[in-house]
Amino acid sequence: MSITEIEFQASAVEGAPEQAVEGRSQWQLTWGRLRRDKVAVTAIIVIVIMVLLAIFAPAVAALVHHPVDTAYPNTGENAAGNPVGPLTNGFWLGTDDTGRDLMVRILYGARISLFVGIVTTLIATVAGVTVGLMAGYFGGFIDTVLARFTDAVLAFPYVVLALALAVIFGPSLPVIIGVIAFFSWAGVSRIVRGQTLSIKEKEYIEAARSLGAGPFRIMFIDILPNLLAPVLVLATLYIPSAVVFEATLSYLGLGIQPPTASWGNILADAQNFYQNSWWYVVFPAAALLITTLAFNLLGDGVRDAMDPRTERVLAGRRGRRERRRLRAQRRSVVSGGSGVPGTDSLAIPAGDD
């Protein structure tokens, strides 16, 4: 290291404003790291575009003058009665087998998919966190009952059971949300329970008890903030699986019922036409793929940002991540080593799911 470099570093330290170490929360630090992750940022942009398109689907329908459930037998089908291709007769992504605008239907399908994905994840997360906290904190009999129930839910062949439930209760949006949420909370619960078991032994929990805090205050004010990181990562990764689950149910005819559009039932209808109308299969499948991929990559990015020490799953980027991690370490050393508070508690235990 040359003298000028040392001087440069020294001046950088001196020049660092006092506020550099001022109260940056875990979330600010996480966001700072996430923002530098190009993949995660791209994923966020894709998700935002998807959400905006879903919200403004009626506006798009109005723009192209093709209401979602209206069939266009004359312009939307060719002489043989088959769907027309993309950019034909004003249909940007072509039509489906009854001559409806495929693009408008995919956008309406996005509303269902994203709604189901987000709502079920919210329900499953709240339920899983509550059950996991109670089981882990109270222990004993309550833990035995709740943990065995969690194990039982995880042990179900859930697709089969979901199909049975959908048949019994009849396919409708609330039933689908209920079924998916019922099979999703157990994973959250198990991780939360495990983390709670270790956190409740910490001295600050004893300190809270010595102040007179009750069990629910300790669970939700003292323990929960320490669990938010793994729970948030898990929730981000649950959204795409809920989206796929909904598509699966709808594809099998037990989810969203026609004429309401859903990616699953569009694909189900499309499977008879893949030989002569490729767009009918490709576009809804692409929408599903892009959405789930974006959420998965965002989940990875959030996990990496929460805990810079975990390895990224995609091998190709390892070198770059390594360099980035070293840079981050240097930064935290410069800022007094306090840049990353307690990151060791953030790692999701491997193989616990």
Binding site: G23, E203, P225, G342
Partner: protein
């Protein structure tokens, strides 16, 4: 006399069952962590509690703080029995009895801001709310020597000594009468230890606090205590006012501990003979018969393994200085010689 006693602990026993693992958990033994301890904490004074690691100091503290249920015995606070109260019944006493913990890193929630941590007692007891709470917290921070501007920082942004000050501020918030300090400085650098100890004694002077001060560092205990109690394997070995216990210890264990401590005064250090104890502390699951110290005692005789000595005032001692030993150390006796002869 009674009015001068804040806390009276009578024959406190705490056993932890040792269970087999697996579905059917049989109790196969008991860790006799605290076995019949009687003590009094004088109002406005400090009772120092010393002993080796694992002698039951912290367990005793947690029982008094109501964090662990006792096996038997009673704990009286200002004349009221607070033994094994339910959480709700204990709440009014929580205000009076606070605790400072050993680990300045583990005892502060890393995900919560300092203002929230120190404000917790107010929030839990619903005494002060809103902006008043923030003002009070900042007053407390100032009182313990923290910058009130750092209200919104996280514990990770403070040094060990500062963190311990946060713990002190939290314990002070409800203006308790008793603060139980469980090795409050043993995790700190020596230079920082003195600062925190001075803060504690300033606070005692200003607020009339009583302390139960636990440490394994004898010099620290000498510095802060009025009364001293020495524990060995869950029992009290010797107890009394600070000066006689330090100047003329009667229990061989106390004498051995004192001889092993580093002396601040080099002359004392040069002349002092170290009494080397052989062996380890026996397991509290299966403590020795008779006097628990007898396997390691330099003055051991046959009686020691058969009969358990009771706490008594030994000849020539003041009436508050009690020792549990059949053959107490007499003034001028050289235990190191005794030990080497054996």
């Amino acid at each position: 006399m009674t009015d001068d006693v804040l806390v009276r602990v009578d024959n406190l026993v705490k056993y932890f069952p040792v269970r087999t693992s697996g579905m059917i958990r049989r109790t196969v033994g008991q860790v006799q962590a605290v076995d019949g301890v009687t003590l009094e904490i004088p109002r406005g004074k400090t009772l120092g509690l010393v002993g080796e690691t694992g002698c039951g100091k912290s367990t005793l503290a947690r029982c008094i703080a109501g964090l662990l249920p006792t096996t038997s015995g009673t704990i009286n606070f200002e004349g009221k029995d607070i033994t094994n109260l339910s959480r709700r019944a204990m709440i009014p006493y929580r205000r009076e009895i606070q605790m400072i913990f050993q680990d300045p890193y583990g005892s502060l929630n890393p995900r919560r801001r300092v203002g929230a941590i120190i404000g917790d007692p107010f929030a839990i007891h619903k005494t002060v709310t809103g902006s008043e709470r923030k003002r009070k917290v900042q007053d407390l921070m100032e009182r313990v020597g923290l910058n009130p501007e750092h209200y919104n920082r996280f514990p990770a942004e403070f040094s060990g000594g500062q963190r311990q000050r946060i713990g002190v501020a939290r314990a002070l918030a409800l203006q308790p009468k008793l603060i139980i300090c469980d090795e409050p400085v043993s995790a700190l650098d020596v230079s920082i230890q003195a600062q925190v100890l001075n803060l504690l004694s300033d606070l005692q002077r200003d607020f009339g606090l009583s302390y139960l001060f636990i440490a394994h560092d004898l010099e620290v205990v000498r510095h802060v205590s009025d009364q001293v109690m020495v524990m060995y394997l869950g029992r009290v070995a010797e107890s009394g006012p600070k000066e006689p216990v330090y100047e003329s210890p009667r229990h061989p264990y106390t004498a051995a501990l004192l001889s092993a401590a580093t002396a601040a005064d080099p002359e004392t250090a040069a002349t002092r003979q170290r009494i080397l104890l052989t062996g380890d502390v026996p397991s509290p699951i299966d403590p020795p018969s008779g006097c628990r110290f007898h396997p390691r005692c330099p003055k051991v005789q046959e009686l020691c393994s058969q009969d358990e000595p009771q706490l008594e005032v030994k000849a020539g001692d003041m009436p508050t200085h009690v020792t549990a030993c059949h053959f107490p150390v007499v003034a001028g006796e050289n235990l190191a010689v005794v030990a080497s002869r054996r």
